[in-house]
């Protein structure tokens, strides 16, 4: 076993630091093919990853690339470069460290390919791009180690699948490559280990000391939380008081829109002019960087933020984390709390602020779960094939390939270890021809097989397009927002295209905490002027709406079963008691459905507790069944715990609506035409290369892309329903946006135990649903009925009799 070189040891001692046990463990295992380190933030995780590289490079013999570090954020790569250069320069190690991200200049990038540094810091997309060049074998042949930082975050999305395919390629170019994963606390480390390691290599998991339990509680406020909504405006005075009492506070929100509203409300009440900033993914990079810099300098007392601050950049002296709105997921809560107090072995302090009455219950359940160390999460499915299609094209861009060896390479990636040859061939076929329905177009004939059996691009110029459309991040059709000036004003950030389309000149909206006035759209840029006099509209940023995890929902249902609720605030406990008296509380082993009239319409409230996405899907499927049975539904709205449906007729027997076969059939037919499926299709079609966002110079507007992807989807559905991309869309629909898997689990669990309660009015638990936004109309018989009534009324009032 090698020792940590004395020079490095001395540097640690000189700083007054000692090497943590897990850093030593990682060093001792440096020759293993794969190692996963689980450590809390601030535990010297990154140094644990880099120590072996520094040691191996300290002799100065290495020529070319030795270590590749991959992080999900460009900013993290830049941060690490700073932090790593300090010891390297202090000790005087002969190591060149450079980063390479979307922000790196073209000259720099070119030079890096000719003369790579010893340590390259990059992102999954930039790495995948590097593997697409013909000179990739030369660049990567000597690479020894790859460090994947924040691997738990990458594993949650297709970016992780992309990275593992890129690593499979690296491993082929450099068979001795060793892999290291750095992760925050997760519920299933084994799954991450399998994801990271070359299949079937073993992967040792090293657990660092998790440190003391966090100090976490619910914020006490004078005001009661409202019945619905996500703003938590009621808590503003209490939150301000907390900011005053702490050095630096991070205030996390679940969506960007909520962060914007909260930030504005906070400033309206900020009488002491405390320095408070805002940070989220839709803000312009310069704006974000300014906030980040101010934060590092310690100039800010609080930052209102979203998941964009979730990852491990060191923000200095944060001593309080506030989570606004229910955390939806205990694991994310625990990871966010880890952001406070980066000094190892000091407890983090966190406060939860429920945004509405139901979230009080959810927050208390999440608190109990966090204290019990019960983390949640959905098991990771097999690697999606749209990413695989993209990598087939990337492989082709790098040069002619043999299908058998590409299959061997790709199935060495953890997420694709169980990919069948048949599935692989379908992807290859799609890349070669576009699939049955599209084979008539030259544009999709992208690969051809040469006489020697190798596959190559039919048109070598396609490499440029492939590289331009690489990546799996779906920037959902956003437009840049700029101040209107003579020559391009200051960039402020981005809004969703759909939101921009709803604006007329003169409208005002919030971005980056300021109110701006919409002036017009010029060349895909939203031009605005500063304005502070009108009540703003709220931009609908595409912040991901997470669904409450299954484990957390179960915990809430268990809490409902208690005879009383000493752990809940009085107002919330009273509310639940009233529900129990007027109706019933939902139970885990039964399905509660309430039926009641309200405002001249019939309502049905289904308490499935299946999470927002699944409840939304349930709404679509149930209204379809109701339509078939003549119950004339008009619309529905879904939350994490229930779906409320309204229509013209009352439901008296719900059982036929819940037959799993009929629902599954509904998924295949009705849902097939649904916007959610189309969105899923669009994402996969873009990743797989069927829709190109970037076509040499000009970028398609989101609406153009939507137009053609929707028609593509409809046509494939009709004439080629088994097209590879339709299969992928259905696979994706089972989890994610459609989440049919949870509906199946629900129906299997409850079986016949469905309780329909007929009430004479709205129940306490159903009442907040009436205030929910995001109501979905149902187009069907009810619409025809309304149309006929309206037509008769119009003719009548126009003095005309119907012919």
């Amino acid at each position: 076993m090698t020792q940590i070189p004395a020079r490095i040891h001395h540097w640690f001692s000189a700083k007054g630091w000692s090497i943590h046990p897990h850093q030593q463990d990682m060093f001792d295992r440096a020759q293993d093919p794969a190692t996963l380190l689980i450590a809390p933030t601030g535990g010297g995780k990154t140094m644990a990853g880099f120590l072996p590289s520094l040691a191996e490079l300290s002799g100065g013999e290495q020529k070319g690339l030795h270590t590749i570090y991959v992080s999900p954020l460009k900013a993290l790569a830049a941060d690490i470069k700073r932090n790593l250069r300090t010891p390297v320069e202090d000790i005087g190690l002969p190591i060149r460290i450079e980063d390479r991200t979307g922000d790196t200049s073209a000259t720099q990038k070119k030079r890096q390919r000719a003369d790579p540094p010893h340590i390259l810091l990059t992102t999954p997309e930039s790495l995948a791009l590097l593997t697409s060049y013909e000179d990739a074998p030369r660049m990567f042949e000597g690479v020894q180690r790859v460090i994947v930082d924040e691997i738990h975050a990458l594993a949650e999305s297709k970016r992780g699948d992309q990275l593992m395919l890129a690593l499979a390629r690296l491993q082929r170019l450099s068979p001795d490559l060793r892999r290291v994963g750095l992760s925050a606390t997760v519920e299933d480390p084994e799954a991450i280990a399998r994801f990271l390691a070359r299949h079937p290599d073993p992967c040792q998991i090293i657990q660092a000391d998790p440190g003391p339990d966090p100090d976490i509680s619910m914020l006490q406020t004078q005001e009661m939380p409202p019945w619905s909504g996500g703003g938590a405006a009621y808590a503003i005075p209490a939150v301000l008081e907390q900011i005053r009492q702490h050095r630096t506070t991070l205030i996390f929100h679940n969506t960007r829109a909520q962060a914007e509203i909260f930030f504005r409300n906070l400033w309206l009440a900020n009488d002491d002019d405390l320095p408070i900033g805002i940070h989220h993914g839709s803000l312009d990079r310069q704006q974000r960087e300014r906030v980040e810099a101010a934060m590092v300098r310690g100039d800010l007392r609080a930052i209102v933020c979203t998941g964009s601050l979730d990852l491990g950049i060191d923000w200095g002296d944060v001593d309080l984390v506030i989570q606004i709105g229910a955390p939806k997921n205990v694991k994310r809560l625990v990871q966010r709390i880890g952001r406070a107090n980066h000094r190892y072995n000091a407890p983090s302090k966190a406060l939860l602020v429920p945004a509405n009455r139901f979230e009080v219950v959810e927050c208390v359940a999440a608190l109990e779960a966090a204290r019990a160390h019960e983390l949640d999460g959905e098991p990771r499915g097999a690697g999606p094939r749209d990413v695989l299609c993209q990598h087939v094209l990337i492989a082709a861009a790098a040069g002619p390939f043999d299908a058998d060896s590409l299959f061997t390479e790709m199935t060495s990636a953890g997420p694709y270890a169980h990919l069948s040859r048949h599935e692989f061939d379908a992807c290859l076929e799609f890349c070669a021809t576009g699939g049955y329905a599209l084979r008539v177009y030259d544009r999709w004939q992208r690969l051809q097989q040469r006489p020697d059996g190798l596959w190559q691009l039919r048109d070598p110029r396609a490499t440029q397009r492939i590289r331009m459309n690489l990546g799996t991040i779906q920037d959902t059709d956003t437009l840049k927002v700029r101040l209107r000036r003579n020559r391009g004003g200051k960039p402020l950030g981005e809004v969703e295209e759909a939101f921009a389309a709803s604006l007329t000149p003169g409208d005002t909206f919030l971005i980056g905490g300021q109110i701006v006035r919409y002036e017009g759209l010029r060349e895909m840029v939203v031009e605005v002027s500063r304005r502070a006099d009108k009540k703003p509209k709220i931009a609908t940023f595409s912040g991901t709406k997470f669904a409450t995890s299954t484990q957390l929902s179960d915990r809430i249902l268990r809490m409902f079963a208690q005879p009383d609720w000493p752990q809940l605030p009085r107002h919330t406990a009273d509310w639940l008691t009233l529900q129990r008296k007027m109706s019933r509380l939902p139970r885990r082993d039964r399905l509660l459905i309430e039926s009641f009239p309200n405002d001249g319409r019939e309502h049905l409230c289904v308490y499935g507790f299946a999470g927002r996405n699944a409840q939304q899907t349930l709404g679509l499927l149930l209204t379809k069944r109701m339509e078939e049975t003549g119950l004339a539904p008009l619309g529905f709205v879904a939350t994490d715990y229930a779906t409320l449906i309204w229509g013209l007729d009352a439901v008296t027997d719900p059982r036929p609506l819940f037959h799993i076969d009929a629902l599954r059939n509904g998924l295949d037919t009705w849902l097939a035409g649904n916007a959610v499926m189309k969105r899923t299709f669009r994402a996969s079609a873009t990743i797989a290369g069927l829709i190109e966002r970037n076509t040499g110079g000009q970028r398609k507007s989101g609406r153009q892309a939507t137009f053609s992807s929707d028609i593509l989807y409809d046509t494939l559905l009709k004439y080629d329903p088994d097209h590879l991309l339709m299969q992928i869309t259905r696979e994706e629909a089972m989890r994610g946006l459609v989440d049919f898997g949870r509906i199946e689990a629900l129906i299997q669990r409850i079986g016949n135990r469905i309780d329909l309660l007929r009430l004479d009015r709205v129940s306490p638990l159903a009442a907040p649903l009436f205030l929910e936004v995001g109501k979905v109309p149902v187009k069907g018989a009810a619409e025809e009925r309304l149309l006929a009534e309206e037509s008769a009324r119009l003719l009548q009032s126009a003095g005309l009799a119907a012919t």
Binding site: L438, W444, L786
Partner: protein, 220 residues
């Protein structure tokens, strides 16, 4: 599928759910703006590559309407093909399909602005055609009477209890009847558009297509 009976120029006509017009006295079915070959033309001009099934879909619907009515005369009211090249590029199977539909029927192709001049398919090619009291032409003429025309792809939108329902629509007044576009992938022009309000005047009515066609005062 239902249809709505209405009277125009003293004739009993039916607005069909699909957007076709049925005139029982003449055993005549009229469809407008089929735009066959639209996807092919878009690709040819560097637009989005839509799957080439729109023509098949349009012909499927036309075939069903012919079966339903047993029409003996068919009028295609112009812009039947997206352009002249589209008619040439039509797949052999689709040409055969059209020929099959034409068998045993009188078939009139009215010239449109997208497809002027002769095309290499059976049937009679006319700029306009008078049949009984009605005149069929593609673009409505000023001061026309008893005229059936297309070209505009009209649609109408109705707000009912906070919900906007928009459908392709027939528009009619004393003198003229405007047909909705029949083709798949054809967009529409709202009846509230200036061009249509001016053309149709204040007394106009609209018939919304869809499962149950509905007659309403034309939304302006």
């Amino acid at each position: 599928m239902n249809s709505l009976e209405f009277s125009f120029a003293g004739q009993h006509l039916y607005a069909m759910a699909s957007g076709a017009l049925w005139w029982p006295d003449q055993r005549l079915l009229c469809v407008s703006d089929l735009h066959l070959g639209k996807s092919e033309r878009l690709v040819r001009r560097g637009g989005p590559a839509l799957p080439p099934y729109d023509s098949r879909d349009t012909l499927d619907r036309l075939s069903a309407d012919l079966d339903r009515t047993g029409a003996e005369q068919v009028v295609c009211l112009g812009d039947s093909f997206d352009d002249l090249d589209a008619s040439k590029a039509l797949e052999a199977s689709e040409k055969l399909r059209i020929t099959t539909l034409q068998a045993g029927r009188r078939w009139i192709w009215i010239e449109g602005n997208h497809d002027p001049g002769p095309i290499e398919l059976g049937g009679t090619h006319l700029f306009e055609w008078a049949c009984g009291v009605l005149t069929f032409r593609h673009i409505p003429q000023d001061d026309a009477q008893r005229e059936v025309s297309g070209h505009f792809h009209p649609k109408a939108q109705l707000r009912v209890k906070g919900r906007a329902i928009s459908r392709p629509a027939f528009l009619l007044n004393q003198d003229r009847l405007l047909m909705p576009a029949y083709g798949t992938y054809t967009g529409g022009l709202r009846s509230s558009d200036q061009a249509l309000s001016d053309l149709m005047g204040s007394e106009a009515m609209a018939i919304l297509t869809g499962p149950n066609p509905q007659l309403i005062p034309m939304p302006r």
